[in-house]
């Protein structure tokens, strides 16, 4: 977080506030649709009104989560392994974001 502490602090909290309604909506939907058949789930997830907030939840959630992982990593790891873990946290976060974005594109916007 060195040299960009204030913006990280602000973005962590801004993303947290945005995630509150998304997470509440998502959790209720998750319980409501956990027993769905494939056809029901596909129909529900293909609607842009579902898939776009879904993608927003994953992208903003992974962004917020990566800031948190960085805080944990720099607190406990002080050797050269710190760079390795920080890199892994970026790869994990970007991978999760990309997977969700690609899936939503396929579900709602590709043919």
């Amino acid at each position: 977080m060195s040299k960009k502490g204030t913006s990280t602090f602000v973005l962590q909290r801004a993303s947290a506030v945005v995630l509150i309604p998304l997470a509440v909506w998502f959790l209720i939907s998750l319980v409501a649709h956990a027993g769905d058949s494939f056809a029901e789930m596909q129909a529900w997830l293909s609607k842009p009104t579902t898939s776009i907030p879904f993608a927003a939840l994953v992208v903003i959630g992974a962004y917020h989560g990566r800031i948190g992982l960085e805080e944990v990593i720099v607190d406990y790891i002080h050797s050269w392994m710190k760079t390795v873990f920080l890199t892994l946290s970026w790869i994990a976060a970007l991978g999760v974001m990309g997977l969700a974005a690609w899936s939503v594109y396929q579900l709602s916007f590709a043919g």
Partner: protein, 134 residues
């Protein structure tokens, strides 16, 4: 980190001597649930991906979602997000410079634990009520 002590003075005993406080527990739980929530978000992405790939990909995910293990993971994720959310609101309140009196911080700490279970239950009821609808 401190290297060889330059004298025989005692070092800080912070890792050996401590007593339980709910503020400490909430802080540790906030980190634990945060890391768990990151894993949960990765699972959500995997779930989306499986649905996007088609029925063959989705079959094991759907089976897991309706299995007892899936139920436990689901319940744990719901509580984990609720705790992180409520304790996060407590931290936002702290950011405003308030809520730091020890008695207040302890009371809000307990409230977050109790409230997270209540909120998780409320979300499960709301979700079950919406089943077949939304």
């Amino acid at each position: 980190m401190a290297g060889t002590p330059s004298s025989a003075r005692p070092l800080s005993p912070h890792l050996q001597i401590w007593r339980f406080t709910v503020t400490m527990a909430a802080s540790i739980t906030q980190r634990g649930t945060g890391v768990a929530n990151f894993a949960g978000v990765a699972l959500i992405a995997a779930w989306l991906f499986a649905v996007a790939q088609g029925p063959a990909f989705f079959a094991p995910v759907g089976a897991l979602l309706t299995s007892p293990i899936g139920g436990v993971v689901l319940a744990g994720f719901i509580w984990s997000l609720c705790f992180h959310m409520l304790n996060g609101l407590r931290y936002l309140y702290w950011d405003s410079g308030r809520g730091f009196k020890p008695a207040t911080a302890r009371a809000t700490g307990w409230a977050v634990y109790v409230g997270s279970v209540a909120l998780a239950a409320l979300i499960v009821f709301a979700g079950l009520a919406a089943r077949g609808g939304a």
